[in-house]
């Protein structure tokens, strides 16, 4: 027994256990948010289309996600005959894991509300979004179905193209904050910018508006959402890369897509909207973070049900010929302004 007590005094082990508890809380919290995000999307979509969304299951349809999960678990799962079994099973897992890893570097609030603050936090986010490309590529290829393969290849080309513009748009933020660590970026946005009697929080939304717009558009393309969801377009490619997926594997792809949406929104809040900083004591930080996060998530849902889908060549045109030069110009202008001392 005293050996166990001595073991617990080990600081490495304590750190690991504390991190494990935080990860457990964040994981379950995010899973809960994802399932209710799907419900909110269906409700909002319904109201935008002049109908009421799901309202049968439970009061106001609030138990709909639970019914959905139950249905997905109970559906028959079949695997196409010629499919590559291992990769077929692996692809939905790869869809979810990088998005979850991103949550470990996001500062949800001050001191104990984040798992870790690595000093290359922004690069970890970019690395995980690069790894997310594999899920769709492998899912499309392993299904042994030409529609799925086309959807997978289109999607991987799209995601790789928009990653460039996304990375470049975050460089402006990096120049202003002078650090890659997400905690330092939030700390830089906690200050106020005084314009006479007016005190505006120094959010990067005001200092880097172009980068914010570019980041949000590329975030839509990276998560394969709305106007950029040709790879999973129902009317075009049967169901794109997840044609052959059923039951919980499809559920995992769906979950992975929304998890990606939430993680990119969390990063956008951290980089551009000031993270957890807001009026009032710092311990309210996590509530401010959640509020900003929900605003961005509503924005994602709103865009999906408002705009028509972009054709694939229009999509690639936008990524390479419009967003990439704009992001590069933004880096140049920001660098000049920081060098001349105009921007903080």
């Amino acid at each position: 027994m005293s050996a166990m007590a001595a073991l617990f005094q080990n600081p490495d082990l304590q750190y690991a256990l504390w991190a494990f508890v935080k990860i457990f809380i964040i994981l379950n919290g995010m899973l809960g948010i994802v399932s209710y995000l799907i419900y909110v999307e269906r409700k909002v979509a319904g109201h935008m289309q002049a109908r009421v969304g799901p309202n049968r299951v439970g009061p106001l349809g609030l138990l709909q996600p639970i019914a959905d999960v139950g249905k997905l678990f109970l559906k028959e799962e079949f695997i196409p005959a010629e499919a590559n079994k291992v990769i077929f099973h692996l692809a939905p897992i790869i869809a979810v894991v990088p998005a979850l890893v991103t949550f470990s570097v996001i500062p949800f609030g001050p001191a104990p509300f984040f798992v870790t603050d690595v000093n290359v936090g922004l690069l970890v986010f970019l690395a995980m979004s690069s790894l997310g490309v594999y899920a769709i590529t492998l899912g499309g290829w392993s299904s042994n179905n030409k529609y799925a393969l086309l959807g997978g290849l289109r999607s991987s080309a799209q995601m790789v193209s928009y990653e460039l513009a996304m990375g470049l748009s975050t460089i402006g933020v990096l120049l202003i904050a002078n650090s890659l660590s997400l905690g330092a970026i939030v700390a830089q946005q906690s200050k106020f910018w005084h314009l006479g009697p007016l005190a505006i929080p120094s959010w990067n939304l005001f200092f880097q508006p172009v980068a914010f717009v570019v980041f949000m558009i590329t975030a839509l393309a990276e998560t394969n959402r709305a106007p950029f969801d040709l790879p999973e377009a129902e009317a075009e490619l049967v169901a794109g890369f997840h044609t052959e997926y059923s039951s919980m594997k499809f559920g995992l792809f769906f979950l992975g897509e929304f998890m990606n949406v939430i993680s990119i929104s969390c990063i956008a809040v951290t980089l551009f909207l000031g993270g957890w900083s807001g009026p009032g004591p710092a311990s309210l930080g996590i509530l401010w973070f959640m509020l900003k996060l929900f605003v961005l998530l509503f924005f994602f849902i709103w865009i999906r049900w408002t705009y028509p889908r972009l054709r694939y060549d229009q999509l690639m045109n936008l990524g390479w010929k419009v967003l990439l030069p704009i992001a590069l110009a933004n880096v140049l202008v920001t660098a000049l302004l920081v060098f001349w001392g105009i921007l903080p």
């Binding site: 690069l123 990653e163 890659l180």
Partner: protein, 174 residues
Amino acid sequence: MIQALFVALSAIAVVSSLLVILHRNPVTSALFLVVSFCSLAGIYLLQHAEFLFAVQIIVYAGAIMVLFLFVIMYLNLKSDVETGVQIAVRRGIGWLVGAVLAAEGLWLMARHWAPGPTSLQPAADTDNTRAVGQLLYTRYLFPFEITSLILLAAMVGVIVMARGRGHASRGEER
């Protein structure tokens, strides 16, 4: 603790590299190579190279291997068929040369030519990315600019090669 992590990551790297060259299906080889790259990235992190850890995953695992997978899927390659005496003879010679290389490496290691840990103290806790950036843009500025020229040349070369001959007018119709 760090040593245990290093041993675990290097075991993963070696096993997945072996599976890269042993597996018949090129897609599986590519995926094992991705695993190998990610474990190497972990080892870079243990060697206090945080910027390289992130860049390894972004560039190698996230871009280069995606390109490989793209080409393999585009060419619709099935598993390799490796039967026949000539091929087996060539394979045997290949393994023999590899064994000779491995023996050389082991012999060098056994003679302890690689030094152990030095008495140098690790540098002060400056941000690795900041230090790499400062070095890259002052002392290594010229190679940095040359690298951008290399990338430009590669991009132009790939576009010219991918278009093929006689397709020059096809791009202007849109």
